[in-house]
Symmetry: D2
Subunit: 339 residues, 4 copies
Amino acid sequence: MIVAMLETAGEDQIQGVIDHLVKMGFEVHRSTGARQTVLGAVGRRIDFDIRDIEVLSGVQLVHRISSPYKLVGRSFRPEGTRVILPNGVEIGGKEIIVMAGPCSVESREQLFAAAEHVSKAGAKVLRGGAFKPRSSPYTFQGMGLDGLKLLREAGDRYGLMVISEVMEISQIELMLPYIDIFQIGARNMQNFNLLRELGKIRKPVLLKRGIAATIEEMLLSAEYIMSGGNYQVILCERGIRTFETYTRNTLDISAIPVVHKLSHLPMTSDPSHGTGIRDKVAPMACASIAAGADALLIEVHPNPDQALSDGAQSLYPEQFSELMGQLRMIAPAVGRTIG
Amino acid sequence: MIVAMLETAGEDQIQGVIDHLVKMGFEVHRSTGARQTVLGAVGRRIDFDIRDIEVLSGVQLVHRISSPYKLVGRSFRPEGTRVILPNGVEIGGKEIIVMAGPCSVESREQLFAAAEHVSKAGAKVLRGGAFKPRSSPYTFQGMGLDGLKLLREAGDRYGLMVISEVMEISQIELMLPYIDIFQIGARNMQNFNLLRELGKIRKPVLLKRGIAATIEEMLLSAEYIMSGGNYQVILCERGIRTFETYTRNTLDISAIPVVHKLSHLPMTSDPSHGTGIRDKVAPMACASIAAGADALLIEVHPNPDQALSDGAQSLYPEQFSELMGQLRMIAPAVGRTIG
Amino acid sequence: MIVAMLETAGEDQIQGVIDHLVKMGFEVHRSTGARQTVLGAVGRRIDFDIRDIEVLSGVQLVHRISSPYKLVGRSFRPEGTRVILPNGVEIGGKEIIVMAGPCSVESREQLFAAAEHVSKAGAKVLRGGAFKPRSSPYTFQGMGLDGLKLLREAGDRYGLMVISEVMEISQIELMLPYIDIFQIGARNMQNFNLLRELGKIRKPVLLKRGIAATIEEMLLSAEYIMSGGNYQVILCERGIRTFETYTRNTLDISAIPVVHKLSHLPMTSDPSHGTGIRDKVAPMACASIAAGADALLIEVHPNPDQALSDGAQSLYPEQFSELMGQLRMIAPAVGRTIG
Amino acid sequence: MIVAMLETAGEDQIQGVIDHLVKMGFEVHRSTGARQTVLGAVGRRIDFDIRDIEVLSGVQLVHRISSPYKLVGRSFRPEGTRVILPNGVEIGGKEIIVMAGPCSVESREQLFAAAEHVSKAGAKVLRGGAFKPRSSPYTFQGMGLDGLKLLREAGDRYGLMVISEVMEISQIELMLPYIDIFQIGARNMQNFNLLRELGKIRKPVLLKRGIAATIEEMLLSAEYIMSGGNYQVILCERGIRTFETYTRNTLDISAIPVVHKLSHLPMTSDPSHGTGIRDKVAPMACASIAAGADALLIEVHPNPDQALSDGAQSLYPEQFSELMGQLRMIAPAVGRTIG
């Protein structure tokens, strides 16, 4: 931490700040210039709020130097993390992994049709919601346990791993037998109790960026999970909220190379939620791969016009196949392959 | 819902959209102009996603007419809601209510000192966190049940009602005996399972606006609670995330008159979280009252420099007293009183 | 400037950065810690881009310490600036000044009716646009020179000073004989050529914050004007663009106390543009005064339903009178008076 | 325009709104439902402010149906616009065009070295600033006319067309003999006087999206130019301002497919300004092409560490060559070629 004192700060104020920093456990370096004094506070503590120093008397400004996270930082695992699924598929390796399927599990017919199609087209993981967080209390809320069972069955039948969203601590136990990856939705990115519980299990967790979360906040949320001992964390950009209203969210594709620089965790992209509009999904999926994404999450529905949720952003099966063809052409440009 | 068809839309496309709307349960009015056809869909359904119509063939654009909520709308209770606390204090009436206290309950000494001071200065409700949602896993996480007991004791001793944040369904039972108002934090505004459970109890709930939530989304979250039968909901502006970084958040004071127009629920303001900086709290508290807020939530700590959380935005006791004096001068300008 | 080197930075990299800083004219203090080296660069230069250091080899992060501005900083004139108008009215003194009038000058009848009313109600300055920046090329573009003449005439008749927006360098000469304050609109806040020219004149300039401008950027734009020798600068918050769409912009009232801390310049508020909705203007005007604004800009039209621009946000004359009454009640709470 | 009346609106209020719409020149269709009345206003007028209707008595809400622009709309030229440069190079055709060069023209040596390199690597247009809009009054402001002459000379020498930014009306005449494309910077996107003047010339104009401009506002600004008769307009995404601070701006890549749907004008991307960080430029350039961009603007400097402006976001020459190789691999995936 660096503390710049006001030009007008007196010796007692400077000493007061030094004392405060020492009490917090820092070693303090003092640099006295012609115009102002600057203090450097060095130490292993990362659990402080810089505003506590900012309000001390005589302080002009304060900046962190150390990251507020440690386990998720790139230097913790410079070679990068590969999350390995039960069937050997790796997220974070040379191969780009596509996870696809309907927004919600609606019926056996719907799910199996989707699973068969995406499997043939090259997807490796089946997505589908069993518990749905909906902003209106009057809309479809998901099939629950029955949906989980269908997901497992469809995954096993078509050789796909299974990912589904967990919304609440009580659902973890329920989901464990059926799914391969726990997904944390954007609205739960800072549900710290849930993160902590997921830190105790030993299955991969895909953490979506909140719509108003900075990249640093997403990394801090991942730190919650890792600090519990679960190191199989996958990050996901899914669109942030901006002033632009044409798209539902603004997919921040630059977050992909930024996360790759700051962290060792795999970084993925969800162009379906990121745009909210079917005909924008393919261009943004291509863009995500071109920017270096390790995996994609894509909504595909056998009959989007009849979907109970998010039909407007779900691809038709044939659109998904076509997109996979495009992605296969782009992957080599960034030194990757695709199944 | 209004559906404007493209100028190029053919009769079959128009008929296709009409059929779709009828199947959804709407009565459809067709208006054929020289250049384009416009369809008006009228009905009682509010649980639909307009994007499902937007993607139909031949559609140019779609707009909702009806609000997506009903119970929270102003027309449901044109005279406004007064939330009445056990001791008769009303939120939403002529009197402006001030809720004050420390960010976290840290100890009996700290809490009682704060409670005594804010009570004398005119606050009617004691605030204090027992469970703390912290963005870093390495910081103070609250006193839990012991904190709740202290809150109750301090409230009773100094004649104050008690408000505290609930973060999780499992905490509801635990908190019920000790608190008078459940607070839902900004990060849980769209934790729909939690909202639903709070709809089943019969104690007031103060719902904070999420940092990236529109006013309409806040109202929809309140609808979740009300649709469960709990009509004692209080709304709270606590700052939204914008590009400006000088303040921690941007307190959207205009949300106060906007909510008063759209809804019958009391609308309050939290200038402590809304700014994150101690010397900005008083001006923004004054501004909130001048804009018509029904109540304020203000962090006060007997010794902010030693606070375990959010010390930088907590007022010194004497600052709080001074602020109360200012608020008493402003209240009559908006036809209100203050205790 | 503070430069934190990476933990892995070698001596040659550290020396490289030091050499670069010295070449830029800084005096460098080196602080070598157990884990990393931190460099403090001190000097009088403020015209640098910290990203030039961020990209040097071995650098972890860089922070400015000095403000990027000097003349607008509070320390340049700790007692605060009072902008004095030709008739002795002061902006930035104890009295709060209200500037009111129609969005555009449309006709002699319209302008004189507005001027008479606002003058009687207590306004001290008449506002009105002669040149209108409109986002569509197909809408009313203002009366031009004739509008300026009417403004002067109406101001003189009703004892009001006159403010009007300048959009282009070529208009400065044209406007000089007619107006008392040049207004720079939000869209021109970073029109640096225009700012520079206004730095050469000796009339007050009211600079509006751009809809996506940080407070620091607004101060830097004011520095452009002051660096030309024109110290009579007034700042104005008029709403920023956020994700919320209910209001046209989000009036950032916290900018008022923030600017008062960072700068000596008077800080004002424009609740008409800041909300864009008539019935939100009065609450936000009251809130601005309660937060410490030195002046207000308010649109008033004798017949808003017939206005050629911005009728929807213009007050009816009687609403303006009523608002002035409220403001007079609030002013004493913040130690101010109102005429 | 669609006007939904309140359920409580009386016949006189409905009639009042109808009269108002008719006076504005609209034909009105009335649709009376069981609960509320909806009015459809149809006509050729596009120069109205819907807020003028919103504030009428009895109105619930109002929506536009027609776009506020006409010449820039896709339906005006369904086949798309190709902007043809003097040497026959087309922007908007099958070939993706790369425009590259330094941020500012600094010297003959610097510019010629850059031009030679980017030409060899496959760029078709040379970019370089002669007039620089800088947010601080104390930084390098550009070489002016001498810079323009050098640009022309370097372009001619290395077979490149020339693009440079125009900041002010008075510069248009000066620039005309030297440049092939006028660039309008993000800060001038709504400098309507400048747009109008550029509508009178007959050279291509590249219009950059403002950092807080919606896509619709960018299209409206293009309409200004086209309504003057200059149809050779190129649009450019260069990053919008969001809450994320790691990158300088958030490059909104989804704007590329959105503009292609709404408008016939070529849509390009500037990943240099869009990210502000050198090592993010290549991934975002690749992503832009994968999303369908017609051209790229990229800053390349022979010696970025010595650049007088924006060195931190300028590519080293060898990075640019490498990027061109990647782009050539991606182009076929979106049915394009690259020179």
